[in-house]
């Protein structure tokens, strides 16, 4: 179980003076800005849970992951992984043996050596018995389809291959918890889908607790049942995927195509504010109605359309988490400049 209790992480950033004189001045008297990257975050993740940890750039997602994986020490609060602090030197190694971390923008593989060399070293680092290592490596090679590039130096691998290899490296010691920090960043749709499928399979196979940070909401929808939304270092929302959609607007798009031209405005007038917006296409033969699910059901709208028009086709799509988060960000941008952290200059 992972417990975060009022966790804070502040970074002290030096403010460099402008120009040569400013640089010279800062040699003797340096000002600092304190940036609150994580500001009182608390949550609990139970064993086997899959949690999507999302937020805008600079919201504090990666900092939290780094604190949970023992790379950074919190400024305040407490992090417990199975009752142990990952950032305390005496408990650190015990915690790190039970977790695996994949950073999408970094790799823990040795660039100039074949994958097998890295895995061999990781085996010693995590003290994996020989038989278990061989069995597990074969399973991962099979599951992640890595056979073709096992002996190739890491620098020659494609990004998709490297991510799979990184995932295998993180799973080699069968960690109880897997932290995935933007694992699909930079991948094309097909490769991304394959990687997400592989993570799903791994999770199902080993019942690994999953904490995923990403900007690709489709990954969250496919992998996580719970979402924690972080904004400016604070938890904005913590609940199920369904809840988040409902809380930030249960809207859905209904695209109706008719043989005759649809008068979208009259449909909107009929239902009032239950129809949020409408957009016409194909010379008015197709109209997409965005409806508020709490005020109007898809059935009611369709009944009206079938009664008044010769409906040829209907397409219904629920609002994705992507749009939900977009809404949150828009709201955030409207309130301020969208940057995180509060700066406070000190001598």
């Amino acid at each position: 179980m992972i417990e975060l209790k009022n966790v804070e992480k502040y970074f002290k950033k030096p403010v460099r003076g402008k120009g040569v004189w400013g640089m010279f001045k800062s040699l003797f008297s340096r000002k600092y800005t304190v940036v609150k990257a994580v500001d009182g975050v608390s949550f609990t993740v139970h064993d086997g849970e899959s949690v999507g940890y999302i937020g805008a750039n600079g919201a504090g997602k990666s900092t939290t992951i780094k604190m949970m994986s023992g790379i950074l020490t919190p400024t305040g609060g407490e992090i417990l992984i199975d009752g142990k602090h990952p950032y305390k030197s005496k408990e650190r190694n015990a915690v790190l043996k039970t977790i695996g971390v994949v950073f999408g923008q970094k790799t823990q593989l040795w660039y100039d050596l074949p994958l097998t060399e890295t895995y061999e070293l990781l085996r010693y680092i995590y003290d994996v018995p020989d038989d278990e290592y061989k069995k597990r490596l074969n399973e991962l090679i099979e599951l992640l389809d890595m056979k073709s590039f096992m002996d190739a130096p890491v620098r020659t691998l494609s990004l998709g291959q490297r991510m799979r290899a990184d995932l295998a490296a993180a799973m080699l010691h069968n960690p109880k918890t897997l932290f995935l920090d933007e694992p699909t960043i930079g991948l094309d749709v097909l490769v991304k889908r394959n990687l997400v499928d592989a993570i799903k399979k791994l999770k199902a196979e080993y019942n690994t607790t999953l904490i995923l940070t990403t900007h690709a909401m489709s990954d969250i929808e496919l992998l996580c049942e719970r979402v924690i939304i972080l904004d400016a270092g604070k938890v904005l929302f913590d609940g199920s995927l369904e809840e988040v959609k409902h809380m930030f607007g249960d809207t859905r798009d209904v695209k109706v195509t008719c043989k005759t031209v649809i008068d979208g405005e009259s449909v909107k007038n009929h239902f009032g504010d239950a129809v949020i917006k409408h957009a016409a296409e194909d010379g008015g033969h197709s109209v997409t109605f965005t409806i508020d699910g709490t005020k109007l059901t898809t059935g009611e709208l369709l009944n009206y359309m079938f009664a008044n028009y010769e409906v040829a086709d209907v397409k219904i799509s629920e609002t994705g988490i992507e749009q939900v988060v977009e809404k949150i960000y828009e709201k955030d941008r409207a309130q301020g400049d969208g940057t995180n952290g509060e700066g406070d200059a000190r001598e």
Partner: protein, 306 residues
């Protein structure tokens, strides 16, 4: 159990670092060729100068060409080996600097690796690579001396092996401490150039310590690197005393020559015995390794400070 695990991890890290070094063909060839190039330069350009210098110290006594040539060749080879134990160690430490530059050292912090395991992995890899290259240089040196005039006994020749071993351990520890703070490949090149030039002088490899003023000589004798050179000089050149005596050189002249070229080191007027030199170097190696590990531990504590 933990110690066994630590040893296994150190061995795995050492193997990884050695493989990475040998993958870098440029660094490997550079490290391998540099002692041989220095040795060739000594033989081509400085051999005659050293001959004249040795002759002047003999004050009119003429030695057999094989004796004097062998003595000079031994002096040259011991100088080259004394410096190479440091310069090659700097090149071999490239792996540690590269790991810092490309963030590998930071990435490894997400694994349960103890700081001393990581750092000793670098140390042993550098030491093994440096040892391999210095032993190749030593064999080349033996061949050169054999061609010019051999006088070493089997015991003396064999003693060179532990001398080089200790000098390499010392050089590796010293270069590792310096390289730990470097953050770019350019910095390591610049620092290794500076250190190798300065070290050559202060360890008595480029110029005999006995030729310095007394104060300077005693100051330099406080530095442990001097004893690495001293050991090499003792074992490479000690055998020539008998040969010079056989050539008719009086004992005073032989002693004067050997003292003048640091075959016998003296510290505040007392002769320094070989076992003392071994002890000083061994203790220095232990202290430097401890400092290296301590720096890493303190640095790690500082970086994760709340």
């Amino acid at each position: 159990m933990t110690v066994k695990q630590d040893v296994k991890q150190i061995a795995a890290f050492t193997a990884r670092n050695i493989k990475l070094f040998f993958k870098d063909k440029g660094a490997l060839i550079g490290a391998l060729v540099s002692p041989l190039i220095i040795m060739t330069l000594y033989a081509l350009f400085l051999h005659r100068v050293f001959l004249q210098s040795f002759d002047s110290m003999l004050q009119g006594i003429t030695l057999a060409p094989k004796t004097i040539n062998g003595l000079v060749a031994s002096y040259e080879v011991s100088s080259v080996l004394a410096v190479c134990c440091i310069t090659v160690a700097f090149v071999a430490n490239m792996t540690m600097v590269a790991d810092k530059v490309n963030g590998t050292r930071a990435d490894i912090t997400v694994t349960p690796v103890k700081g001393h395991v990581l750092i000793l992995g670098y140390y042993f890899a550098t030491a093994i690579v440096t040892l391999a290259i210095c032993y190749i240089a030593m064999i080349a040196g033996f061949c050169y001396i054999a061609g010019m005039g051999w006088a070493m006994t089997a015991g003396e020749a064999l003693s060179v092996i532990p001398d080089v071993f200790l000098a390499v351990l010392f050089g590796t520890a010293l270069s590792s401490i310096v390289c730990y703070f470097l953050k770019s490949q350019g910095a390591i090149s610049a620092v290794s150039t500076i250190v190798s030039s300065v070290y050559g002088f202060i360890c008595g490899a480029y110029y005999p310590i006995s030729q310095f003023s007394k104060g300077m000589a005693n100051t330099i004798m406080c530095l442990p690197g001097t004893y690495c050179t001293g050991l090499l000089r003792t074992h490479f050149m000690g055998g020539y005393a008998e040969l010079m005596a056989a050539d008719g050189a009086p004992k005073a002249a032989v002693d004067g020559l050997l003292n003048g070229f640091d075959v016998k080191l003296s510290f505040f007027g007392s002769d320094v015995k070989a076992w003392v030199m071994y002890l000083v170097v061994a203790c220095s190696v232990a202290v430097l390794i401890a400092v290296f590990v301590l720096i890493n531990v303190l640095n790690k504590k500082r970086s994760t400070k709340v």
